[in-house]
Protein backbone atom coordinates (compact mmCIF):
# COMPACT_ATOMS: atom_id res chain seq x y z
CA UNK A 1 0.00 0.00 0.00
CA UNK A 2 2.87 2.32 0.89
CA UNK A 3 4.59 1.40 -2.37
CA UNK A 4 1.42 2.18 -4.28
CA UNK A 5 1.20 5.63 -2.69
CA UNK A 6 4.81 6.35 -3.63
CA UNK A 7 4.18 5.11 -7.15
CA UNK A 8 1.11 7.35 -7.38
CA UNK A 9 3.13 10.39 -6.46
CA UNK A 10 5.91 9.55 -8.90
CA UNK A 11 3.60 8.30 -11.64
CA UNK A 12 5.82 9.47 -14.48
CA UNK A 13 8.83 7.55 -13.19
CA UNK A 14 6.79 4.45 -12.36
CA UNK A 15 5.28 4.29 -15.82
CA UNK A 16 8.69 4.95 -17.34
CA UNK A 17 10.16 1.98 -15.48
CA UNK A 18 7.20 -0.22 -16.46
CA UNK A 19 7.25 0.65 -20.17
CA UNK A 20 11.05 0.61 -20.43
CA UNK A 21 11.25 -2.79 -18.75
CA UNK A 22 8.53 -4.14 -21.09
CA UNK A 23 10.20 -2.71 -24.20
CA UNK A 24 13.66 -4.04 -23.38
CA UNK A 25 12.40 -7.33 -21.94
CA UNK A 26 10.28 -8.20 -24.96
CA UNK A 27 13.15 -6.99 -27.16
CA UNK A 28 15.25 -9.69 -25.46
CA UNK A 29 12.36 -12.07 -26.14
CA UNK A 30 12.59 -11.26 -29.87
CA UNK A 31 16.34 -11.84 -29.80
CA UNK A 32 16.40 -15.05 -27.76
CA UNK A 33 13.27 -16.82 -29.00
CA UNK A 34 13.84 -19.46 -31.66
CA UNK A 35 10.20 -19.71 -32.75
CA UNK A 36 9.49 -17.11 -35.42
CA UNK A 37 5.78 -16.86 -34.50
CA UNK A 38 6.65 -16.04 -30.89
CA UNK A 39 9.23 -13.52 -32.08
CA UNK A 40 6.47 -11.68 -33.97
CA UNK A 41 4.27 -11.62 -30.86
CA UNK A 42 7.11 -10.32 -28.64
CA UNK A 43 7.81 -7.63 -31.24
CA UNK A 44 4.17 -6.47 -31.04
CA UNK A 45 4.45 -6.11 -27.25
CA UNK A 46 7.83 -4.37 -27.45
CA UNK A 47 6.62 -1.82 -29.98
CA UNK A 48 3.45 -1.24 -27.93
CA UNK A 49 5.55 -0.46 -24.87
CA UNK A 50 7.63 1.92 -26.98
CA UNK A 51 4.41 3.72 -27.92
CA UNK A 52 3.71 4.03 -24.17
CA UNK A 53 7.11 5.68 -23.72
CA UNK A 54 6.24 8.12 -26.53
CA UNK A 55 3.02 9.05 -24.73
CA UNK A 56 5.00 9.55 -21.54
CA UNK A 57 7.47 11.90 -23.24
CA UNK A 58 4.60 14.12 -24.39
CA UNK A 59 4.42 13.00 -28.03
CA UNK A 60 0.82 11.80 -28.07
CA UNK A 61 0.29 12.05 -31.82
CA UNK A 62 3.45 10.11 -32.65
CA UNK A 63 2.54 7.49 -30.04
CA UNK A 64 -0.89 7.03 -31.61
CA UNK A 65 0.69 6.80 -35.07
CA UNK A 66 3.15 4.23 -33.73
CA UNK A 67 0.25 2.10 -32.53
CA UNK A 68 -1.76 2.54 -35.73
CA UNK A 69 0.90 2.31 -38.45
CA UNK A 70 3.53 0.13 -36.78
CA UNK A 71 1.57 -2.28 -34.63
CA UNK A 72 -1.56 -2.18 -36.77
CA UNK A 73 0.00 -2.12 -40.21
CA UNK A 74 3.63 -3.11 -40.46
CA UNK A 75 3.50 -5.93 -37.94
CA UNK A 76 0.34 -7.38 -39.45
CA UNK A 77 2.27 -7.45 -42.74
CA UNK A 78 5.18 -9.20 -41.00
CA UNK A 79 2.87 -11.73 -39.37
CA UNK A 80 1.32 -12.48 -42.77
CA UNK A 81 4.85 -13.06 -44.04
CA UNK A 82 5.49 -15.44 -41.16
CA UNK A 83 2.26 -17.32 -41.88
CA UNK A 84 2.99 -17.59 -45.61
CA UNK A 85 6.48 -19.02 -45.06
CA UNK A 86 5.94 -21.00 -41.84
CA UNK A 87 6.84 -24.48 -43.07
CA UNK A 88 7.88 -26.87 -40.35
CA UNK A 89 11.59 -26.57 -41.15
CA UNK A 90 11.62 -22.79 -40.87
CA UNK A 91 9.63 -22.17 -37.67
CA UNK A 92 12.57 -23.06 -35.44
CA UNK A 93 16.00 -22.16 -36.78
CA UNK A 94 19.05 -22.43 -34.56
CA UNK A 95 21.81 -19.85 -34.65
CA UNK A 96 25.38 -21.10 -34.78
CA UNK A 97 27.25 -20.77 -31.46
CA UNK A 98 30.16 -18.81 -32.90
CA UNK A 99 27.65 -16.30 -34.29
CA UNK A 100 26.17 -15.84 -30.82
CA UNK A 101 29.61 -15.24 -29.26
CA UNK A 102 30.68 -12.74 -31.91
CA UNK A 103 27.33 -10.90 -31.85
CA UNK A 104 27.35 -10.67 -28.05
CA UNK A 105 30.85 -9.20 -28.01
CA UNK A 106 30.14 -6.67 -30.78
CA UNK A 107 26.68 -5.76 -29.45
CA UNK A 108 27.92 -5.41 -25.87
CA UNK A 109 30.72 -3.07 -26.86
CA UNK A 110 28.32 -1.04 -29.03
CA UNK A 111 25.91 -0.78 -26.08
CA UNK A 112 28.74 0.38 -23.81
CA UNK A 113 29.69 3.13 -26.28
CA UNK A 114 26.06 4.27 -26.68
CA UNK A 115 25.36 4.30 -22.93
CA UNK A 116 28.59 6.21 -22.31
CA UNK A 117 27.45 8.81 -24.85
CA UNK A 118 23.90 8.93 -23.45
CA UNK A 119 25.00 9.61 -19.89
CA UNK A 120 28.08 11.60 -20.85
CA UNK A 121 26.48 14.92 -21.75
CA UNK A 122 25.59 16.93 -18.69
CA UNK A 123 22.74 18.73 -20.42
CA UNK A 124 20.96 15.49 -21.21
CA UNK A 125 21.30 13.82 -17.82
CA UNK A 126 20.02 16.83 -15.88
CA UNK A 127 16.98 15.48 -14.04
CA UNK A 128 13.72 17.37 -14.44
CA UNK A 129 11.42 17.91 -11.51
CA UNK A 130 8.64 15.60 -12.56
CA UNK A 131 7.07 15.19 -9.15
CA UNK A 132 3.44 16.25 -9.46
CA UNK A 133 3.84 16.32 -13.22
CA UNK A 134 0.45 17.05 -14.72
CA UNK A 135 -1.14 15.67 -17.83
CA UNK A 136 -1.72 18.52 -20.23
CA UNK A 137 -3.40 18.32 -23.57
CA UNK A 138 -0.73 19.66 -25.88
CA UNK A 139 -2.92 19.90 -29.00
CA UNK A 140 -0.10 18.83 -31.26
CA UNK A 141 -1.97 17.35 -34.20
CA UNK A 142 -2.78 20.70 -35.82
CA UNK A 143 0.78 22.13 -35.64
CA UNK A 144 2.14 18.81 -36.92
CA UNK A 145 -0.25 18.75 -39.87
CA UNK A 146 0.46 22.39 -40.71
CA UNK A 147 4.20 21.75 -40.50
CA UNK A 148 3.76 18.98 -43.06
CA UNK A 149 2.21 21.52 -45.42
CA UNK A 150 5.08 23.94 -44.88
CA UNK A 151 3.61 26.25 -42.26
CA UNK A 152 5.18 26.32 -38.82
CA UNK A 153 2.69 27.76 -36.39
CA UNK A 154 4.71 26.62 -33.37
CA UNK A 155 7.74 28.81 -34.20
CA UNK A 156 5.89 31.97 -35.16
CA UNK A 157 7.22 33.74 -32.08
CA UNK A 158 10.91 33.40 -32.85
CA UNK A 159 11.35 35.13 -36.16
CA UNK A 160 14.58 33.61 -37.35
CA UNK A 161 15.66 33.81 -40.95
CA UNK A 162 14.81 30.19 -41.54
CA UNK A 163 11.18 30.72 -40.54
CA UNK A 164 10.89 33.93 -42.56
CA UNK A 165 12.08 32.32 -45.75
CA UNK A 166 9.69 29.43 -45.29
CA UNK A 167 12.51 26.93 -45.10
CA UNK A 168 11.52 25.29 -41.86
CA UNK A 169 8.40 23.56 -43.12
CA UNK A 170 8.32 19.94 -44.20
CA UNK A 171 6.34 20.20 -47.44
CA UNK A 172 9.10 18.87 -49.70
CA UNK A 173 9.95 15.82 -47.54
CA UNK A 174 6.21 15.16 -47.25
CA UNK A 175 5.80 15.08 -51.05
CA UNK A 176 8.91 12.93 -51.47
CA UNK A 177 7.64 10.47 -48.87
CA UNK A 178 4.21 10.32 -50.54
CA UNK A 179 5.68 9.54 -53.97
CA UNK A 180 8.09 7.09 -52.34
CA UNK A 181 5.21 5.25 -50.68
CA UNK A 182 3.30 5.05 -53.97
CA UNK A 183 6.32 3.69 -55.84
CA UNK A 184 7.10 1.25 -53.05
CA UNK A 185 3.57 -0.16 -52.89
CA UNK A 186 3.35 -0.60 -56.68
CA UNK A 187 6.77 -2.24 -56.66
CA UNK A 188 5.85 -4.54 -53.78
CA UNK A 189 2.61 -5.59 -55.46
CA UNK A 190 4.54 -6.25 -58.69
CA UNK A 191 7.22 -8.31 -56.97
CA UNK A 192 4.97 -10.34 -54.70
CA UNK A 193 2.49 -11.36 -57.42
CA UNK A 194 2.13 -15.02 -58.36
CA UNK A 195 3.83 -15.80 -61.61
CA UNK A 196 1.88 -17.77 -64.20
CA UNK A 197 4.89 -19.31 -65.90
CA UNK A 198 6.82 -20.54 -62.89
CA UNK A 199 8.01 -24.13 -62.95
CA UNK A 200 5.64 -25.56 -60.35
CA UNK A 201 2.44 -24.30 -61.99
CA UNK A 202 3.79 -25.32 -65.41
CA UNK A 203 4.27 -28.89 -64.18
CA UNK A 204 0.77 -28.94 -62.82
CA UNK A 205 -0.77 -27.61 -66.04
CA UNK A 206 1.14 -30.11 -68.21
CA UNK A 207 0.02 -32.92 -65.93
CA UNK A 208 -3.57 -31.68 -66.25
CA UNK A 209 -3.25 -31.57 -70.05
CA UNK A 210 -1.92 -35.13 -70.06
CA UNK A 211 -4.85 -36.31 -67.94
CA UNK A 212 -7.31 -34.53 -70.24
CA UNK A 213 -5.72 -36.18 -73.28
CA UNK A 214 -5.98 -39.63 -71.67
CA UNK A 215 -9.59 -39.02 -70.73
CA UNK A 216 -10.41 -37.98 -74.28
CA UNK A 217 -8.79 -41.13 -75.62
CA UNK A 218 -10.75 -43.26 -73.18
CA UNK A 219 -14.06 -41.64 -74.12
CA UNK A 220 -13.29 -42.24 -77.79
CA UNK A 221 -12.58 -45.88 -77.08
CA UNK A 222 -15.78 -46.19 -75.08
CA UNK A 223 -17.80 -44.64 -77.87
CA UNK A 224 -16.28 -47.06 -80.33
CA UNK A 225 -17.13 -50.03 -78.10
CA UNK A 226 -20.72 -48.92 -77.57
CA UNK A 227 -21.05 -48.42 -81.31
CA UNK A 228 -19.75 -51.92 -81.95
CA UNK A 229 -22.00 -53.44 -79.29
CA UNK A 230 -25.17 -51.74 -80.51
CA UNK A 231 -24.32 -52.59 -84.11
CA UNK A 232 -23.80 -56.25 -83.29
CA UNK A 233 -26.99 -56.35 -81.29
CA UNK A 234 -28.93 -54.77 -84.13
CA UNK A 235 -27.45 -57.16 -86.69
CA UNK A 236 -28.20 -60.07 -84.37
CA UNK A 237 -31.81 -58.91 -84.00
CA UNK A 238 -32.09 -58.48 -87.74
CA UNK A 239 -30.77 -62.02 -88.16
CA UNK A 240 -33.39 -63.52 -85.79
CA UNK A 241 -36.11 -61.53 -87.58
CA UNK A 242 -35.11 -62.94 -90.93
CA UNK A 243 -34.93 -66.48 -89.48
CA UNK A 244 -38.47 -66.10 -88.08
CA UNK A 245 -39.75 -65.18 -91.52
Amino acid sequence: MNLLAVAWEYWHQSFFILFAACAIGFGFGVLLSKNVVRMAFYLVLSLGSTAGLFFLAGAEFVGAMQLMIYVGGTLVLLIFGVMLTAQKDFINMDTHTQDWILATIVGGSLLMVLLFAAFGAEDWSKPQDLTDAKIESTKEATPLGLALTGIRVDTLGDSGDAVKQGKSGYLMPFIIVSVHLLVVLIGAAYMARTKKLSRATDDKSSRAKLMLFKMEQETEQLEEETYVVTHRGQSALNRTDSQDE
Binding site: Q13, Y70, G81, A147, H180
Partner: protein
Protein backbone atom coordinates in the same frame (compact mmCIF):
# COMPACT_ATOMS: atom_id res chain seq x y z
CA UNK B 1 14.11 3.49 -6.26
CA UNK B 2 17.35 5.11 -7.46
CA UNK B 3 15.54 6.22 -10.59
CA UNK B 4 12.81 8.11 -8.78
CA UNK B 5 13.10 11.80 -9.36
CA UNK B 6 15.84 11.40 -11.90
CA UNK B 7 14.09 10.60 -15.18
CA UNK B 8 15.89 12.63 -17.82
CA UNK B 9 16.65 12.51 -21.52
CA UNK B 10 19.56 10.17 -20.78
CA UNK B 11 17.29 7.39 -19.57
CA UNK B 12 15.22 7.58 -22.73
CA UNK B 13 18.44 7.50 -24.74
CA UNK B 14 19.51 4.43 -22.76
CA UNK B 15 16.26 2.63 -23.62
CA UNK B 16 16.69 3.65 -27.27
CA UNK B 17 20.30 2.41 -27.27
CA UNK B 18 19.25 -0.93 -25.76
CA UNK B 19 16.54 -1.42 -28.40
CA UNK B 20 19.03 -0.47 -31.12
CA UNK B 21 21.64 -2.97 -29.92
CA UNK B 22 19.03 -5.72 -29.48
CA UNK B 23 17.84 -5.13 -33.05
CA UNK B 24 21.35 -5.06 -34.45
CA UNK B 25 22.28 -8.34 -32.71
CA UNK B 26 18.96 -9.81 -33.92
CA UNK B 27 19.82 -8.80 -37.50
CA UNK B 28 23.25 -10.37 -37.19
CA UNK B 29 22.32 -13.69 -35.61
CA UNK B 30 18.92 -14.69 -37.00
CA UNK B 31 18.95 -17.14 -39.87
CA UNK B 32 15.28 -16.66 -40.70
CA UNK B 33 14.73 -13.86 -43.23
CA UNK B 34 11.70 -12.58 -41.30
CA UNK B 35 13.73 -12.55 -38.06
CA UNK B 36 16.20 -10.22 -39.76
CA UNK B 37 13.29 -7.95 -40.75
CA UNK B 38 12.10 -7.88 -37.13
CA UNK B 39 15.61 -6.80 -36.10
CA UNK B 40 15.36 -3.90 -38.55
CA UNK B 41 12.07 -2.83 -36.97
CA UNK B 42 13.67 -2.84 -33.50
CA UNK B 43 16.60 -0.74 -34.73
CA UNK B 44 14.29 1.86 -36.29
CA UNK B 45 12.32 2.06 -33.04
CA UNK B 46 15.49 2.62 -31.02
CA UNK B 47 16.38 5.52 -33.32
CA UNK B 48 12.83 6.91 -33.06
CA UNK B 49 13.09 6.90 -29.28
CA UNK B 50 16.04 9.32 -29.49
CA UNK B 51 14.10 11.74 -31.71
CA UNK B 52 11.14 11.71 -29.34
CA UNK B 53 13.34 12.21 -26.28
CA UNK B 54 15.16 15.17 -27.81
CA UNK B 55 11.92 16.70 -29.04
CA UNK B 56 10.08 16.34 -25.75
CA UNK B 57 9.21 19.54 -23.94
CA UNK B 58 8.46 17.59 -20.77
CA UNK B 59 12.00 16.22 -20.51
CA UNK B 60 13.85 19.27 -21.82
CA UNK B 61 11.96 22.52 -21.26
CA UNK B 62 14.82 24.53 -22.76
CA UNK B 63 16.59 23.63 -25.94
CA UNK B 64 14.33 20.81 -27.04
CA UNK B 65 13.91 20.10 -30.73
CA UNK B 66 10.19 20.76 -30.37
CA UNK B 67 8.01 19.62 -33.21
CA UNK B 68 10.97 18.83 -35.46
CA UNK B 69 11.79 15.71 -33.48
CA UNK B 70 8.22 14.44 -33.70
CA UNK B 71 8.03 15.19 -37.43
CA UNK B 72 11.23 13.24 -38.13
CA UNK B 73 9.87 10.39 -35.99
CA UNK B 74 6.70 10.36 -38.13
CA UNK B 75 8.80 10.20 -41.31
CA UNK B 76 10.79 7.31 -39.83
CA UNK B 77 7.58 5.41 -39.05
CA UNK B 78 6.24 5.90 -42.60
CA UNK B 79 9.53 4.90 -44.21
CA UNK B 80 9.70 1.84 -41.97
CA UNK B 81 6.27 0.79 -43.25
CA UNK B 82 7.47 1.20 -46.86
CA UNK B 83 10.65 -0.74 -46.10
CA UNK B 84 8.69 -3.58 -44.52
CA UNK B 85 6.41 -3.85 -47.58
CA UNK B 86 9.32 -4.09 -50.04
CA UNK B 87 11.39 -6.40 -47.85
CA UNK B 88 8.42 -8.71 -47.38
CA UNK B 89 7.83 -8.82 -51.16
CA UNK B 90 11.49 -9.74 -51.65
CA UNK B 91 11.24 -12.38 -48.92
CA UNK B 92 8.16 -13.96 -50.52
CA UNK B 93 9.83 -13.92 -53.93
CA UNK B 94 12.91 -15.59 -52.46
CA UNK B 95 10.71 -18.19 -50.76
CA UNK B 96 8.82 -18.92 -53.99
CA UNK B 97 12.00 -19.35 -56.02
CA UNK B 98 14.20 -21.20 -53.52
CA UNK B 99 11.68 -22.87 -51.18
CA UNK B 100 13.56 -21.62 -48.12
CA UNK B 101 13.78 -18.54 -45.87
CA UNK B 102 17.31 -19.32 -44.65
CA UNK B 103 19.48 -16.29 -45.39
CA UNK B 104 22.61 -18.47 -45.39
CA UNK B 105 21.36 -20.15 -48.56
CA UNK B 106 20.87 -16.86 -50.41
CA UNK B 107 24.40 -16.97 -51.84
CA UNK B 108 23.74 -17.11 -55.56
CA UNK B 109 25.42 -13.76 -56.11
CA UNK B 110 28.73 -15.09 -54.73
CA UNK B 111 31.63 -14.16 -57.01
Amino acid sequence: MILIGTVSVSWYLAVGASLFVLGAVCMATKRNLLGVLMGVELVLNGANMNFIAFGSKVLRPEGSLGLDGQLIALFVIVLAAAEAAVALAIALNFYNNHNTVDVDRANELNG
